[in-house]
């Protein structure tokens, strides 16, 4: 087990190297450089700027420098004028993205699991129909569809929640400041609804499979309370297949908040990424991409390891 964990963790290194390389190549093949804008710069200005940011070296030299800097977790400074450390920008913005990502992840898993378990327990009953209906509709409700609908109903029409904006500051959660919950509810549901439907579907199928097993009948036959049968005997085992999809879902939500952030002016990492691509801020693109890649890689690793704990039959 420990050996497997170490091997998998080390396996992340070549993966990250590959992603760093691919991003480097892609970034430098975008037409135009960071200093091409509406107002053309003079030759001297351009040369000076390129020298300042190390863009006057040949590409291989830039690549080596870039990799060397990465080893010390240094992704350089932004090339778009403010000269800030990319590291600082990521540090500053990630709180917002994580808040949104984690909130919608909790929403998706709690409601998805509940819905799945409830509909499996009264299969073909009214609860099941409601559950399956929500899960089916949810599959067609990505954030870009749901966010406008929710905004119309709950913000414009009913006024229960604020129209999503950054005015009162997003991301205070890390410091225990929950006063902005009115702004968090709608984006959380918008982002988390599709994964919720997905989790509900898997949980239902997995629960139905487990509930048909002989040992559940045995548990019932020996007179265990229904509560114990459902939670301790069924749900615990039914959760294992659900666990595998939770990792990718979490990563997807962290990255997926990009969409919501951009359109609802939430100052998170995703917002920053879209801006950096449009103005070709090389270092910022690299930094954000790698940051997300690291999160995804570790989430996948974490889930794989968790899988081994949850299911003792799995041996590495």
């Amino acid at each position: 087990m420990l050996q497997y964990a170490i091997r998998r963790t080390l396996g992340i290194i070549p993966l990250l190297w590959a992603i760093a390389t691919i991003t480097f190549v892609l970034m430098h093949s975008i037409q135009g450089g960071p200093f091409d804008s509406d107002r053309p710069l003079s030759e001297t200005q351009r040369t000076n700027l390129e020298r300042k940011y190390g863009l006057d070296d040949s590409l291989p030299v830039q690549y080596v420098t870039y990799l060397k800097n990465l080893l010390t977790l240094d992704v350089g400074i932004t090339t778009s004028g403010s000269d800030r450390l990319v590291k600082d920008i990521i540090k500053e913005r990630m709180g917002v993205s994580f808040q949104l990502g984690i909130a919608s992840f909790l929403f998706a898993s709690v409601f998805g699991l509940t819905l799945g378990v409830v509909s499996s327990l009264n299969q073909n009953g009214i609860g099941d129909y409601v559950g399956v209906f929500i899960a089916t509709i949810g599959a067609a409700m990505p954030s870009i569809v749901l966010a406008p609908m929710l905004t119309i109903w709950f913000a414009v029409e009913l006024g229960w929640f604020n129209v999503l904006s950054s005015e009162y500051g997003f991301g205070g959660w890390l410091h225990g400041d929950f006063s902005n919950w009115r702004q968090v509810v709608l984006p959380t549901i918008a982002l988390g609804f599709l994964p919720m439907a997905f989790i509900a579907r898997i949980t239902r199928a997995s629960m139905l499979e487990v509930l048909r097993q002989d040992y559940i009948r045995t548990a019932r036959a020996k007179g265990l309370r229904e509560f114990s049968v459902v939670l301790r005997h069924s749900a615990k085992n039914a959760l294992i297949p659900v666990l595998t999809v939770l990792g990718p879902i979490f990563a997807g939500l962290i990255v997926g908040s990009l969409v919501i952030e951009t359109k609802f002016a939430i100052p998170g990492l995703g917002n920053e990424f879209v801006r950096s691509v449009l103005i070709r801020d090389y270092n910022l693109i690299m930094g954000v991409t790698l940051f997300f890649a690291v999160i995804i890689a570790f989430m996948n690793l974490f889930v794989d390891l968790l899988y081994g704990f949850a299911d003792p039959r799995i041996r590495y």
Partner: protein, 323 residues
Amino acid sequence: MSSPSQAAVQPFDFAQEVMHTKQRGLWNQAWHRLLHNKLAVISGFLLLVIITVCVLGEYVPAIQRHDPSIQDYGHIEEGPSAQFWLGTDSLGRDLWARMLQATLFSLKIGIGTQLVILLIGVTVGMGAALAGRLSDTVLMWFTDLAFAFPDLLAIILLRQVLLNRDWPIIGSGDPQIPGMSNILLVTILAIAFVGWTTIARLVRGQMLSIKELDYITAARSMGASPGRVVRSHMLPNTLSSVIVAITFGIPLAIFAEATLGFIGLGVPPPDASLGSLIGQGLDTIQTHRIEIIWPTLMVASLMLCFTFLGDGMRDAIDPRTRR
């Protein structure tokens, strides 16, 4: 329908049963099972209607009714009327015409992307399964990599890379294919280059398991060339699951494009895609609510229909997975 008593009286005619199944081949049977799935049939029919109306709208002015990019400042942010069936937007453009244009664009994205993915996925999957262990390792490492790369970020980066580029054959303008624009091609390629791994893994897995089956050994021992074994025995048997995966892939591609359009990285104005219409609608959500309803409904319906159709096809092709 024969009643149970009749069935008991009549002896089971094995020969006829076999001939009967033979007459109705695998695809025929699957087709019949699909027709029995109401949800799938309705979805398929709805999709057919949507596609027909959108394609006709492109070529028949009587169906498109208005030019989607003509701005009429006498009719700004109007609700649905006899003249403007779905209303007009904040620049006085007819939303019906814009919806037709946008939906067609999204459908082209969905189907075009899956065609490219089919090409890449089947080639890579087959290569990995058949061309020896080294290529298998390399190709699978590639799919792992594509799996680990944050999807949306990769699509956005690739889109920027492919944009405004001088291509070897097509040049920098619109390619010489009817109905294909430069931005359409760029978006299709960007989404496809990120999304091909599912099919590749699927084809590889199927091929590896089929390779070991007896009928392949039989075909081989009867002297069939490797090319023939792959072409007429292995490929057709992976086809069914590939078709299902493709059907499920279409709504994903449509969703990916809608996301790009939503955050302002879609088609450049005045053209519209469903995502950019939603994005625009969001800007006027306080004053003109109806504008955002149409494209969101359309995205949701397209995704639902393709998902139901995919579900139906999966159940039809492989009855074992039926619930």
